[in-house]
């Protein structure tokens, strides 16, 4: 599909050890009626390395979308620090931030809501090009825009005929291709994809997951890939971060986190995924629901559902610490896996 793809950005990448994006003690709170506060993102520190796919998983309401949006300042963090490509962008005014915005794009779950139904696909793709300048500082000419539109349609596997049509004329999977094309228009370096395949049927989901992977191969993109489907995240990610009630409870290499989970929540989550293999024994599921982020439990935030919680867990909050190569966990009693 993307066989003819050409790299759209210069081959110069920062040294592997420097994160493309780095967040430190990021918090996002929402003020609620009656003076209550909701801690949607509750002290997250995370490095996104250039060229990696960082999967962000966790159950509904744990703060994945809020974190994803805060990382690229589509939501204003309440506190903490964000450094993008060596530059502190935490408090940059919108005007100064704008040239950097081109390099950080977002793709959402709802492929329909994010496309203006009254605009043709061609216009939707041209829009960001008209707003922003080329990397060199010149404006996009009409000819350059036309060439770019065709190039983008090729990249996402839709023909240029699509440019003349309207969003409602496309299926959910095709609309997601259009959203991806639009996110790519300005040759970003980082894409935050928030549940980009969750609304799609498996057969179409596989097409879009492959598209994400191909684009990453060809364009050297970096993704933060938010999803609640662990199998999808496993397929696409180089590293996985597991969130629970606003915090990262485990982060590390995909295989380590998903196959040798150190945190009891990660373990329960991986075991709860229904496997398409009949007759497999499934362990007793985790009891109870995720507590409210308004009154999160003291001590370890998972202790109300944790099957191995001790007294200490009710009072002392475990910090995220490294327990093995490429694996960090926030638990007093992490699992150790014999190899």
């Amino acid at each position: 599909m993307t066989g003819q793809a050409v790299p759209l950005m210069p081959e110069t990448r920062p040294a592997a050890a420097t994160p493309l994006l780095s967040a430190t003690d990021l918090r996002k709170t929402y003020a609620l009626p009656h003076g209550r506060t909701l801690h949607a993102v509750d002290g997250v520190s995370i490095d996104v390395m250039p060229g990696e796919v960082l999967g962000l998983v966790g159950e509904s309401g744990c703060g994945k979308s809020t974190l994803g949006r805060s990382l690229i300042r589509l939501a204003e963090p309440s506190s903490g620090r964000i450094v993008f490509d060596g530059r502190d962008i935490t408090t940059l005014p919108e005007r100064t931030l704008r040239p950097l915005r081109q390099q950080m794009q977002m793709v959402f779950q709802d492929s329909y809501a994010s496309l203006n139904p009254r605009r043709r696909i061609g216009d939707l793709l041209a829009e960001p090009l008209r707003v922003h300048k080329k990397p060199g500082g010149q404006k996009w000419t009409s000819a350059a825009i036309a060439a770019r539109q065709t190039e983008l349609m090729d990249l996402v596997g839709l023909g240029h005929q699509a440019l003349e049509r309207y969003p409602h004329e496309f299926s959910g999977g095709q609309r997601q291709r259009i959203n991806i094309a639009r996110a790519l228009a300005l040759s970003p370096r980082l894409i935050v994809a928030d549940e980009p395949v969750s609304a799609l049927d498996v057969s179409v989901q596989a097409q879009i997951v492959n598209l994400f992977a191909d684009l990453q191969d060809h364009l050297g993109l970096t993704y933060v890939f938010v999803a609640h489907d662990l199998a999808v995240v496993r397929q696409i990610s180089t590293r996985v971060a597991v969130m629970y009630l606003g915090a990262i409870v485990e982060i590390g290499e995909t295989d380590a986190v998903l196959h040798r989970p150190a945190h009891p929540y990660t373990l329960a989550l991986t075991q709860a995924v229904p496997r398409p293999v009949p007759g497999e024994h499934r362990p007793t599921p985790l009891r109870g629901d995720v507590p409210s982020p308004i009154s999160r439990p003291a001590g370890c935030r998972f202790h109300t559902r944790c099957p191995i919680a001790q007294d200490r867990c009710k009072v002392e909050e475990p910090a995220l610490r490294t327990i093995g190569p490429g694996q960090d966990v926030a638990c007093h009693y992490p699992n150790h896996w014999a190899d």
Partner: protein, 342 residues
């Protein structure tokens, strides 16, 4: 059927449903047949728009869209439901057949407590006092794994979490001990850890309540873990049906095989690319005269194209697929299953 086999609880024969739109009839569900026995869990799977919900609504007599055409036969405990009067159907639905939906908010009225609403359901079908009804409600909620069921009964729907509401809805559905429970995507809106709890509960229904379950889902993982038998719908037509273990281990229809192959694996090596199925299922009016899967099938050949669509043929014990390959003696080879989008 051998004469000593028990008659099925539900026997659906050639059920078709068409809707009228702009002067044309749109054949949404075409000649679907299946049986469901007492205590059995049957999974009805298919992609969005394949006709799963319409099938379920039709067999419960719940479609009243003007101009709808429903044909075929639905025998429930020996009674024909197609063409049955609405009053009789309603009585059946309240007592012998129950249905639960993806969104539990639709099952409950926001202005009454969930306990009150379950009590009402019991009172409508049984001569018991409100107090006795409430005791039953609390037992039912407890059976569904609701902690502190008495307090939960006194809660309003919006005060409960999604998982708790889903349990309350299942409790309400089971309040009259239905012989058949139809569950349309009952866990799709839930998180996996809560989904696992609800699926556990569904599996236990047959032992504790003896109910048969028709479980509608698009999640092959949910089917594998929960259902005795599986029925795959593709674009309104039956693609495959059989024991879940056989359908997953030896799919007889290329669509089932390709669908299974396109699911990213949770265990074992990660494929570099997922074997995706190119294209999309056809809309009802664009459905080919022959096999509906032909435009996406890597095995499609001349025999697949002419009308009528391939009939179900036996591919194993109680296992059938609607494909020409088994009769031609061509086995499915995993390597050519599923091409990627062009």
């Amino acid at each position: 059927m051998p004469s000593n086999a028990p008659a099925p609880l539900l026997d659906v024969r050639e059920l078709s449903v068409s809707f009228r739109s702009r002067g044309r009839m749109i054949p949404v569900v075409e000649r679907v047949s299946f049986t469901l026995h007492e205590g059995e869990i049957l999974g009805l799977v298919g992609e969005s728009g394949s006709g799963k919900s319409v099938t379920a609504m039709a067999l419960m007599g719940l479609i009243d869209t003007p101009g709808v055409q429903i044909s075929g036969s639905v025998l429930f405990q020996g009674h024909e439901l197609v063409g049955m009067g609405q009053r009789q159907l309603r009585r059946l639905r309240g007592s012998r057949i129950a249905m639960i939906f993806q969104d539990p908010m639709t099952a409950f009225t926001p202005v009454y407590t969930v306990g009150w609403q379950i009590d009402e359901q019991i009172l409508a079908h049984e001569r018991v006092s409100r107090k006795q009804a409430r005791a039953r409600t609390i037992t039912l909620l407890g059976d569904m794994g609701v902690p502190d069921p008495a307090r939960t009964a006194d809660s309003y729907p919006h005060q409960l979490s999604g998982g708790m509401r889903q349990r309350a809805m299942i409790a309400m559905a089971l309040s009259c001990n239905p012989a058949l429970l139809i569950a349309d995507e009952p866990t799709t809106a839930l998180d996996v850890t809560v989904q696992a709890q609800i699926l556990d509960l569904m599996r236990n229904l047959r032992t504790t309540y003896g109910s048969a379950v028709l479980l509608i889902t698009h999640d092959m993982g949910v089917v594998a873990e929960t259902c005795d038998n599986t029925f795959v719908l593709y674009s309104g037509r039956m693609a495959e049906t059989g024991p879940t273990s056989a359908v997953f281990a030896r799919p007889g229809h290329p669509y089932t095989a390709a669908l299974l192959a396109s699911i990213p694996p949770m265990d074992g090596p990660r494929p570099h690319r997922l074997p995706a199925i190119a294209g999309l299922p056809p809309a009802p009016l664009e459905r080919p005269a022959g096999c509906a899967f032909a435009p996406r099938c890597s095995y499609a050949h001349a025999a697949c194209l002419p009308a009528p669509p391939p009939a179900l043929v036996r591919v194993g014990t109680a296992h059938q697929a609607a494909c020409v390959l088994p009769l031609e003696g061509t086995p499915l080879t995993p390597s050519v299953m599923g091409r990627d989008a062009a």
